[in-house]
Symmetry: C2
Subunit: 304 residues, 2 copies
């Protein structure tokens, strides 16, 4: 499908792309680079790429597909570095969790002969780094592409074929709408998970050891998300500020109403909400977006 794929940044997503591209034979050559020498060495040791370069500028030379898999906070600098080196007809994409900021940061550096089609595979685990990747990560997950107005539709179609070959379903969306949707389905959930884990850690009346011992009451679910990559998530919040603040405002407003219902013994209000939310879970499981097994399929007993 591609002659040369350049991966800029090789963490969980970058390494999963490398595994999946190899598995499905989608590129003749994979060239990879990463900012830290340690990551580059790991990539070479694991054989994730055919070639590892020291700089992004070298990596993109002659590549027909370039995927930025670094935290979005460095995209503007990356764009300036690689823009002049992009080959004619090259498709530049990324896997960042925000999209308006990515369009703004990369567009100014794009030569006329290359195509910018930002992307976001909605998939991941709490692990990070080049050793965390696996080929199946994108299977049955959605990948959102947000080509800016005027993008060559052939480039978008080619990238769509690429993600479908990795096992994903693809949706085309306007960047601003993407940022709003992901603010509620991903960014605010991460923020409140990080927040409650922080709140629990700071308590004086309850020890950290108690928080850990009795975490199976619900808390442990939040700690998984709150173990996600700190740099990546810092950059997400700084680069999707408006949508996150908007959704966070609604969340807090609703939470205040719940708080009030508890204070005033309004059991009906609580029951009504608690019944309504079950259906959404059912729909998610039916849509194949989560495991139908109780407790995410966590093992109990011997295997635990």
């Amino acid at each position: 499908m591609f002659d040369r794929l350049a991966l800029i940044g090789v963490g969980l997503i970058g390494s999963s792309i490398a595994h999946a591209v190899r598995k499905h034979g989608l590129a003749s050559e994979i060239v990879a680079t990463a900012r830290s020498a340690e990551t580059r060495e790991t990539v070479a040791r694991l054989g994730l790429a055919d070639r590892v370069t020291e700089t992004a500028a070298e990596a993109v030379e002659g590549a027909d597909l370039i995927i930025l898999c670094a935290p979005v906070g460095v995209f503007s600098a990356l764009g300036a570095e690689i823009g002049p080196k992009l080959a004619p007809g090259a498709i530049l994409t990324d896997v960042g969790s925000v999209k308006s900021a990515v369009v703004n940061d990369l567009s100014p550096h794009l030569p006329d002969h290359a195509h910018l089609v930002p992307g976001h595979p909605v998939a991941g685990t709490e692990e990070s780094g080049p050793e965390a990747g696996f080929a199946e990560l994108f299977e049955d997950r959605w990948c959102i592409l947000t080509p800016p107005a005027g993008t060559d539709t052939k480039a978008t179609d080619t990238l769509k074929d690429f993600w479908e070959a990795l096992g994903s379903r693809v949706e085309i969306m306007e960047p601003g709408h993407h940022d709003l949707v992901l603010a509620i389905t991903s960014h605010v959930p991460h923020l409140i998970a990080y927040n409650i884990v922080g709140t629990a850690a700071d308590l004086e009346e309850v020890t950290q050891s108690e928080v850990i011992k009795f975490s199976a009451g619900g808390f442990r679910d939040f700690t998984r998300i709150a173990a996600s990559d700190p740099t990546m998530w810092r950059d997400v919040f700084l680069n999707n500020k408006d949508a996150v603040l908007e959704m966070l405002g609604r969340f807090s407003e609703d939470l205040t109403a719940l708080q009030r219902a508890i204070r005033w013994d309004d059991g009906d209000a609580l029951y009504t909400l608690f019944s309504r939310t079950r259906e959404i879970r059912r729909n998610i499981v039916e849509a194949g977006q989560d495991s139908p097994a109780p407790d995410f399929g966590r093992t109990h007993g011997q295997d635990d």
Copy 2:
């Protein structure tokens, strides 16, 4: 260990106790009852008990261990019903998620010849009802016992042995402290999970179908908890009001600080929190309270 175990209420926890008691041979006879005729029929059909009675008063007759597995909101009425029927030396316990309210609701009805040792197995799944139970639910989980001051230590020891025989580890705690610990490790996590699922359902700019499709970005984790039993959780919040409001106040305060950090581009504050929370996850996994597998061990690809 016991001659006759009476289970009052047979949902996820009650049916799991029945399975586990059978598996480990801990009672010669299991008598069960439930408020709804439908549940009683299911219990009989599944053979979860040796005998199914229509009322709680009948169920407890001659039982040496009585476990209340109904929502805590009905405990006061249940206590009035069964108190006069409790056999000499009987141990009355429960599995409710709040403990001060349980002590207050049950103590007035307890005859001098019986023992009240409230309990809380910190275990569960998002499923509910008598068909959801399984014998391994309590293995390697903690069960907290909160005997009121003056309780016969032999009764507490016997109940401790019982839970250990089911595979649990047991901790003795003061009821008020239990309620504070569980407010942060279970109640507030449930409340904010219910809340964000409600917030997402109410949006106009983002469709419900989008919320479902792109839930793998984090949101789906919250929907599992928000699919828990509505009656049980309504009663938890109404019966642990002070501790929940206290912990919720701290959560909201911390969230407001995070919101401010995002608004003012304070990346360092975000990064500091996001790095700190990873360690708690590691500790929970090391303590055997969650799966070490990425993504809770959810399957990816073919099995999905």
